[in-house]
C-alpha cells in the first residue's frame, strides 16, 4: 500500500520522545511502511550526535579491571591508536594512513590495511602491540629488526617499505599481498600435491637464502608466515626476524612462551643460541605440514610439543600420505635432523635440491632424476678422537629464554673429547667409572687444572662424587675412540671397551637436597632410555615429595609431572597401573562418609589425574557425591560446569561460577586469579594483622590451612617489599602462588578486638566489592 500522507517533523519528534514502553500506535505502523517518513525520522534521530564515535566506542568490549580472566590483547587498542578522520570508509587515521580494515591480530600486534593518501596506494601496516610498545627495549628491538629485515630485497620475501614510529608506537609498512597464507590454503583445500609442495619449498628456500646472506634468521617460519600471491601463486615470506623482537618483549610474566611452538627447531625449543640452520628445520616442519595437513610435532600442551621437537622422530610422511615419494621423505628427514650439523647446511643448497626435483617432476623425460639423498646414520658415533661433540645442556650459556623447568630434555652433561681427556660439565651427582682392562686404570679428575680426585679403576668400578661444575677426566688409553650414548661415555681401544664413565644423579636417599626439577628431568631421561622402573620411582618421588622439597613446584606437579607420567605409561603398563591405583585411592578417600570436609588438595589431584587419563566426567561424578559444603569449596577445580556440562572459561551463565582451572597448559591461556577478598580493609602491623570483616575489626589469626605468621612470611619471601600490598589486595593470587586454590570462600580464624574472643568463620565469602573497598583504602600497605 502506498502511503498517502506523511507526518511532519514535530509529530515525528514527538513520536521519538515518547515513553518507550508506550503501546505502538497508528503513527508507528504508518512509519514502518512509509519510506519517506522513515527517512525523515532517521534524520531526526541522527541529528546533533556523533554516531560514528558512538559506534566505535560501543562496538568493542571495554576492558574492565575486575574481569575474571586476563585479556592479553587489548581489544580496543585499535581504536585507541587511531585518530578520527573524515575519509570515507576509514576506521581512523594512523600516521599518514587511512585505516580501512583490521587484517589480523597476533602476539606482536595488529595488522591493518591502510590507504596512503599521498601515494594513493594500499599498504599493510603492522603496529607493535601497545602493551609491548610501553617497553623501550621492545620498541628499539622492533625497529632494529624491522630495519634489518627491510634490507632484504628478494622476490620471495615480502618487502618492508617503511619502518617508523608514530606517537611512540613503532610500525612497519609492507605492500598488501592479495592471496592466502599456506596455512589458510591447506586448511581450506587440504594437503598440497607433491609438485606444488616442491615448488613452494624451493621458493621459500630461495627467500631464506637471500635473508641468510644478510645475516638475518627468520626464527618463525610457519605456514601462516608464507603467503601465496593470488594468480601467479608466487611465494612470499613475511615477518622476517620479528619473532625475536616479540620474544623478548612478551616474556613479561614468569617465562610464558607466547604462541604455538610447533615449528620451532630443537635448538629454539631448548633456548639455545640458534643460527640460520634453525630456519631449515622449521622449513622441514612446514613441508611436512603442506604434505599432510598437520605439523610433525603435535601434543596437547606446549610442553608436550617442545618435548617432542627435542626428542621424537615424527611419523614417517609416507605412513601419513602414501603419495609422498621416498626421496622427498629423505629430504624432509634430513631437514628435521635434531642436530643442525646433520641438516643441509645452507638454504641455497636446499633451494637447489628442490629446484632440481621440481624441474624433473615437470619434465620427467627431459630432466634427469636428481641423486637420491643418502639415508641418515641411525645413531651418532664419534669417529675420531678429536671430534668434538656438543650436546645441549640445561645450564648452558645459551640464551636461557625458557625457564629451566620448561626445558624438555634431561641431558646432563656437555662432553667434548680430545685425546683421552674427557671434559664434562655436570650438575651435582655421582660419576661412576668402570674399567674393562685386566690391570687397574689410573684416572685423574681435575677442575680448573686442580686435581679433585685420583682413582684407580678396576673391573669392579669406582665412583666419585662431584659438585656442579666443569671437570676434565684424564685416563691413560692409547688410540682410544670415544663413544657417546646419552650420559654414558664409552672409551674403546683395539675393538674393545676400556672404560665406561657414567654420570648419575644424586642418590635417592638424599631427599632433602633433591631438587624435584632435577629428579623429574632424570625421570624423563630414564623414560627415554627405556628404564621404566627407575623413571616411575622418580616420578613417584616427585609426586609425593616434590612440593615439600620445593614449594613452587605445586604448579609443576599436577601438570608437567603428570604429563611425564602419561608419557611413561605409554610404554610401561606398570606406570599406568600405579597412576590408576593412586586415582582410586584418592577417590575412596574423598567419598568416604566419615570425611565431611575433604582435603582440597586430594580433590585437585584427582581432577588432574582424570584430566590426563581423559576421563573428566569422573571428576564431575565424584564432585556430585560430595557434601554440598565441600562442593561449594571445590567446584573451582572442575573441568567444566556440572550443570551445563560445558566448559566455561570465564563465568558460567547458568550457575554464575567460574571454572578457570580447566586445562592449565602453559600459562598462555591460564586464568588470572580473581580479585576478591573477604575483607574490606587490612592493616599489617609488626606483630599482627588487623582486618575489617563484616564491618568489624579483628586480628587475623589464619586463613584456611595457613596460620597468619606463616602466610605473612611466605608472602614476604615471595614478593619482597611489595608484600603488604600483594597480601592485602591480591589475596587469591598469593594463595595461587602457594598452590592453594580457595574458590570463592575461605575459612577465617579471627580474634575480636573488642571482646578478645577467638572465633572461626567457615566459608567466608570473598567478593570483588570487598576487594574494591580494600583497594581504595589501602594507602598504608603501599611499598616503601
Amino acid at each position: 500500500m502506498i502511503a498517502r500522507f506523511h507526518y511532519d517533523r514535530s509529530q515525528l519528534q514527538a513520536f521519538l520522545d515518547e515513553d518507550p514502553s508506550a503501546e505502538p500506535e497508528e503513527i508507528q505502523s504508518h512509519i514502518e511502511t512509509c519510506s519517506q517518513c522513515q527517512a525523515e525520522l532517521e534524520t531526526l534521530a541522527q541529528a546533533n550526535f556523533d554516531w560514528d564515535q558512538a559506534t566505535r566506542l560501543l562496538g568493542v568490549e571495554p576492558l574492565s579491571p575486575t574481569a575474571w580472566s586476563s585479556q592479553p590483547m587489548v581489544e580496543d587498542n585499535c581504536s585507541s591508536i587511531l585518530q578520527s578522520t573524515d575519509h570515507a570508509g576509514s576506521l581512523g587515521r594512523f600516521a599518514r594512513y587511512e585505516i580501512m580494515e583490521i587484517l589480523g591480530r597476533g602476539g606482536m600486534g595488529v595488522v591493518m590495511r591502510g590507504y596512503d593518501t599521498s601515494l594513493n596506494r594500499h599498504s599493510a601496516i603492522k603496529v607493535l602491540a601497545p602493551e609491548l610498545a610501553s617497553s623501550a627495549a621492545a620498541r628499539k628491538r622492533f625497529s632494529r629488526e624491522a630495519k634489518s629485515a627491510a634490507a632484504v630485497v628478494h622476490p620471495h620475501v615480502v618487502p618492508i617499505q617503511t619502518v617508523d614510529e608514530h606517537h611512540g608506537i613503532p610500525y612497519l609498512v609492507m605492500p598488501v599481498v592479495e592471496g592466502k597464507s599456506v596455512d589458510a590454503r591447506v586448511r581450506d583445500s587440504g594437503p598440497l600435491s607433491v609438485i606444488e609442495t616442491v615448488r613452494i619449498a624451493a621458493q621459500i628456500a630461495e627467500g631464506l637464502a637471500a635473508a641468510h646472506d644478510q645475516g638475518l634468521v627468520h626464527r618463525d617460519i610457519k605456514p601462516a608466515n608464507v603467503l601465496l600471491e593470488n594468480g601467479v601463486e608466487r611465494v612470499q615470506i613475511t615477518d622476517f626476524g620479528l619473532a625475536r623482537a616479540v620474544d623478548d618483549a612478551s616474556m613479561t610474566r614468569s617465562g610464558v612462551i607466547a604462541g604455538t611452538p610447533q615449528y620451532m627447531s630443537p635448538e629454539q625449543a631448548h633456548g639455545d643460541a640458534i643460527d640460520h640452520r634453525s630456519d631449515l628445520f622449521s622449513l622441514g616442519s612446514l613441508i611436512y605440514f603442506m604434505l599432510t595437513g598437520r605439523s610433525p610435532f603435535r601434543a596437547e600442551t606446549t610442553m608436550g610439543v617442545l618435548n617432542r621437537i627435542v626428542n621424537d622422530q615424527p611419523r614417517s610422511l609416507q605412513s601419513v600420505n602414501a603419495e609422498v615419494p621416498e626421496w622427498l621423505e629423505r629430504i624432509v628427514t634430513k631437514l628435521l635432523s635434531k642436530s643442525p650439523d646433520d641438516r643441509y647446511q645452507t638454504a641455497a643448497e636446499v633451494a637447489a635440491v628442490f629446484q632440481d626435483w621440481h624441474a624433473h617432476l615437470q619434465q620427467p623425460d627431459g630432466v634427469n632424476r636428481p641423486a637420491l639423498p643418502a639415508e641418515l646414520p641411525a645413531a651418532f658415533v664419534a669417529g675420531s678422537t678429536n671430534h668434538s661433540v656438543s650436546m645441549a645442556t640445561d645450564n648452558g650459556s645459551g640464551i636461557g629464554r625458557l625457564p629451566r623447568w620448561l626445558v624438555a630434555t634431561a641431558v646432563l652433561a656437555l662432553f667434548a673429547f680430545a685425546g683421552a681427556v674427557v671434559y664434562l660439565e655436570t650438575s651435582k651427582g655421582t660419576l661412576r667409572i668402570e674399567s674393562n682392562a685386566d690391570n687397574q686404570v689410573p684416572i685423574v679428575i681435575r677442575q680448573n687444572g686442580k686435581v679433585v680426585d685420583e682413582l684407580t679403576v678396576s673391573q669392579a668400578g669406582a665412583t666419585a662424587r662431584l659438585r656442579a661444575g666443569e671437570y676434565s677426566i684424564e685416563l691413560n688409553a692409547e688410540d682410544a675412540s670415544i663413544k657417546l650414548d646419552h650420559n654414558q661415555v664409552t672409551i674403546e681401544a683395539g675393538g674393545q671397551w676400556v672404560a665406561r664413565i657414567e654420570m648419575k644423579r644424586e642418590s635417592t636417599s638424599d631427599d632433602q637436597n633433591r631438587d624435584p626439577s632435577d629428579v623429574r628431568q632424570a625421570a624423563v631421561e630414564d623414560t627415554r632410555n627405556g628404564r621404566h622402573e627407575a623413571a616411575l620411582e622418580k616420578i613417584l618421588w616427585c609426586w609425593q615429595h616434590g612440593v615439600q622439597a620445593e614449594p613452587s613446584w605445586s604448579a609443576v606437579r599436577r601438570s608437567f609431572l603428570l604429563s611425564d607420567w602419561i608419557n611413561l605409561a605409554d610404554s610401561s603398563p606398570a606406570a599406568l597401573e600405579k597412576l590408576k591405583s593412586i586415582r582410586d585411592e584418592l577417590q575412596k578417600r574423598l567419598v568416604s562418609a566419615d570425611q565431611p570436609r575433604v582435603n582440597a588438595d586430594d580433590f585437585a589431584d584427582l581432577v588432574a589425574i582424570h584430566r590426563v587419563l581423559r576421563e573428566e566426567p569422573r571428576s564431575i561424578q565424584t564432585y556430585l557425591q560430595l557434601d554440598p559444603r565441600d562442593q561449594q569449596r571445590l567446584y573451582f577445580y572442575l573441568p567444566y560446569c556440572p550443570t551445563t556440562n560445558k566448559p566455561e572459561a570465564n563465568n558460567c551463565k547458568q550457575c554464575h561460577r567460574a571454572y578457570p582451572s580447566l586445562k592449565p597448559t602453559l600459562g598462555v591461556e591460564q586464568t588470572e586469579p580473581p580479585k576478591i577478598s573477604p575483607f574490606t580493609r587490612m592493616e599489617i602491623e609488626d606483630d599482627r594483622v588487623v582486618v575489617t570483616f563484616d564491618s568489624k575489626q579483628y586480628e587475623l589469626l589464619g586463613i584456611d590451612q595457613f596460620p597468619m605468621e606463616e602466610l605473612a612470611k611466605k608472602t614476604r619471601d615471595r614478593y619482597g617489599k611489595k608484600w603488604k600490598k600483594r597480601l592485602s589486595e591480591d589475596l587469591v593470587e598469593v594463595f595461587w602462588q602457594l598452590g592453594h586454590f580457595p574458590g570463592e570462600t575461605v575459612d577465617l580464624r579471627l580474634r575480636s578486638l573488642e571482646t578478645d574472643d577467638e572465633l572461626s568463620i567457615k566459608n567466608a565469602k570473598m567478593t570483588s566489592q570487598n576487594r574494591l573497598d580494600l583497594y581504595l583504602d589501602n594507602e598504608h600497605n603501599q611499598p616503601e
Binding site: 518507550p20 623501550a136 606517537h167 594507602e779
Partner: protein, 197 residues
C-alpha cells in the same frame, strides 16, 4: 594503634555527606576510565590497577583543600582534577624509560604522551558515558527493539540482514532503531539525572 574510624581515609576526610556521596559516585565512575586509559597507554593489568589506585590517592589528598560547603561545583572540580592527575601520572618518566635520547627528543615524546593521554581520557569518558546510558536504557526497550538498534547502529549490520535475523520487517527495524537512538542521544545529553562525567 589507630582504629579505622579515627584514621583519615580517602572518604573519611569528607565530612559533608553530600561530598561523601559524590566521592563514592566518582570512584565508581572513574575507576574503569582511569584503568582503561592506563591500559591503552600500554600498561599491564597490575600496573594499570596500581595507577588507578594512585590517582585516587592523589585526588583524595587534594580533596582536603576543597571546601565542600562552596556549593555544587565539587563534581566539576573532581572531574577536572581526575583528568589532570591521570594525565600527569601517566606522563611520569618511569613509564617512558628514557635512555640515551637527547633531552629535546625526550621532551617531545613527553608532550606527545600527555596529549595522547588527554585524548584517550576524553575518549574513555565518552565511552563510559555511552555505556552507562546503554545500561540504563536497555531495560526500557524490548529485546527486539534494542537489538534493532544495536545490530544496525553499533555492529554495522545492514537493515535487511538485521530484519532477517530478528524476524521483523525492515521498516520496523528502522523505526525501532530511530527510537533507541533518540533516547540514547537524550540520555547522554542529560546532565541532571546522573553524575555527569
Amino acid at each position: 594503634m589507630q582504629g579505622p574510624e579515627t584514621r583519615p581515609t580517602f572518604i573519611g576526610k569528607l565530612a559533608d555527606p553530600t561530598c561523601e556521596q559524590a566521592w563514592n559516585e566518582f570512584v565508581r565512575l572513574y575507576h574503569d576510565i582511569i584503568y582503561r586509559v592506563a591500559r591503552a597507554r600500554g600498561l599491564q593489568d597490575a600496573d594499570a590497577e596500581d595507577i588507578t589506585q594512585e590517582v585516587f590517592a592523589i585526588v583524595s589528598r587534594k580533596v582536603e583543600s576543597f571546601d565542600c560547603a562552596a556549593a555544587g561545583s565539587f563534581r566539576g572540580w573532581l572531574r577536572k582534577l581526575a583528568r589532570d592527575t591521570a594525565v600527569d601520572r601517566l606522563r611520569q618518566p618511569q613509564l617512558n624509560i628514557g635512555s640515551g635520547d637527547s633531552q629535546v627528543r625526550q621532551a617531545l615524546e613527553q608532550r606527545d604522551a600527555s596529549q595522547d593521554t588527554a585524548t584517550l581520557w576524553d575518549v574513555e569518558v565518552k565511552r563510559e558515558q555511552l555505556l552507562r546510558a546503554c545500561d540504563h536504557l536497555r531495560d526500557q526497550f524490548s529485546e527486539t527493539v534494542w537489538q534493532s538498534f544495536w545490530l544496525t547502529a553499533i555492529e554495522n549490520l545492514s537493515i535487511s540482514a538485521a530484519a532477517k535475523q530478528l524476524g521483523k520487517s525492515e521498516g520496523s527495524v528502522r523505526v525501532a532503531r530511530c527510537r533507541v537512538m533518540a533516547r540514547l542521544k537524550k540520555e547522554v545529553g542529560s546532565d541532571d539525572r546522573s553524575f555527569s562525567l
